[in-house]
Symmetry: C2
Subunit: 256 residues, 2 copies
DNA sequence: AAGTGGTCTAGACCACTAT
DNA sequence: TAGTGGTCTAGACCACTTT
């Protein structure tokens, strides 16, 4: 199939050099608007970088940065030697972020973290596997509930590696550590983590703690965290009422 | 609190100008490795861009690009006039993408889309609201099932705006359109969409179609799509067995 | 051979922050 | 004032694709 080519015309929008917005952002937005308006359609080739340089009177580097912006945002794709093309909508490109969860955590009304339980638990086979320990090694088991007023929002259980030589234990046990993890402040001991979301049925005790009649569906967010030596630090999961949390996103062209 | 400063030393890794990888990627990876190794800890300040230029013998622009890479990936944060700092782990930065869903769709064994039902439906209040129509306007109602062998993977229902002047109807009704939407090929008529994921209980007919005993939890993925005139095109939702779909991601430093 | 995207340079200038 | 990140230039050179 023959791809449509960009019609070479004088630009209808110009770059304002006195503006607060840098030139490369302005140019990216101009192109994005033109795509959103249907001037360039999915599959079409954009004007070459050299043409854009001339049309908008900017240097090659500035054009490159604009194109790179659109590339990162999935708006266009580039092919060396061929050109820059408008991408069609793809479902797979959609991304959801945990900001929705963070918002739940940092709600206006003010949320409180209730520590339901803390105790030493000897690792069974499953805990040992998830934390890289031997069976019967000691772990710290936590149960926490996030509430807003009288409403329960989510229920968190986690096992922490018990190692008196590391300060992580105290830090994590502190109720505020949960808050820090969400906010990103001062948990300089964690290097990374793995997260998995599934949909589950609440168990009897979960439904009771979350004040939800059975049967009930819930988000199940499992996490593994490890430190800068790649040693497992914690393993746990959040159970979140499905009527309190949803993940939303947009896909396609966003016009600024 | 006093932030730790980078110790200025001779670099232990160098940039290989003959390598396939461009210099700015190499430098970003060098810095990322140093962060992952704990040489720079969350809160620490990285060497200034001028220092990096000298240490690694690259131009300012190249260093900038490296830093921008790490910035985009959430590894560092920058503050004009102050420096570049290593970011602590943040849960809110985690992102999940629908690639997990796409993988489900494009599995090795080969999946098939079964069209269970297509018919004209007059819009009730809810349909009209979601598609920007008037009550009793005509819509096309679709029910589709994605299966692999004898296993049902997800169940899709959608209402499409019925407008004979637009070719979208035929295109969308075609079974392959679902495939195209996932793969990103040739749906040049859709400009954007909104997606929402919730956790739900399956209804009786859903559980029957998806061959799952009740009660059962499922992912509910609702979608709205609109065209380049910002007119709604389709509204629908996927019901996906929770044992067939999960969303996984990593957060923190990834060492390449 | 001509046109395309991709990398890189060696500076300049600016805005901001610390001292 | 000195140091920091941030933008931008006007080229050069390369790899790749099309004609």
């Amino acid at each position: 199939m023959k791809k449509r080519d960009a019609i070479s015309t004088r630009p209808t929008e110009y770059i304002d050099r006195a503006a607060y917005e840098p030139a490369y952002v302005q140019l990216a937005n101009i192109l994005r608007r033109q795509i959103a308006a249907g001037i360039y359609r999915p599959g079409d080739r954009l004007p070459s970088e050299a043409q854009l340089c001339e049309s908008y009177e900017v240097s090659p580097m500035t054009v490159r940065r604009s194109i790179n912006l659109l590339l990162d945002q999935g708006v266009v794709s580039t092919a060396q030697g061929r050109g820059t093309f408008v991408r069609a909508l793809e479902l797979g490109m959609a991304t959801f972020d945990l900001q929705d969860l963070v918002r739940l955590f940092n709600q206006d009304g003010g949320t409180t973290v209730k520590l339901l339980d803390v105790r030493i638990v000897l690792a069974d086979e499953r805990i040992a596997r998830n934390l890289g320990l031997n069976v019967n090694d000691r772990t710290i088991f936590l149960r926490r509930l996030l509430t807003k007023g009288n409403e329960a929002l989510f229920y968190h259980r986690a096992y922490l590696v018990f190692d008196p030589t590391r300060p992580i234990v105290e830090a994590e046990m502190d109720v505020t550590s949960l808050r820090g993890l969400f906010a990103g402040t001062e948990n300089a001991l964690l290097k990374g983590g793995e997260l998995t979301i599934t949909a589950t049925l609440m168990s009897a005790d979960e439904s009771q703690i979350l004040q939800t009649p059975l049967p009930a569906a819930a988000f199940h967010l499992e996490h593994h965290f490890f430190d800068f030596d790649d040693q497992p630090i914690s393993w746990g999961w959040f159970i979140c009422r499905s009527d309190r949390l949803r993940f939303s996103t947009r896909v396609g062209i966003e016009v600024p």
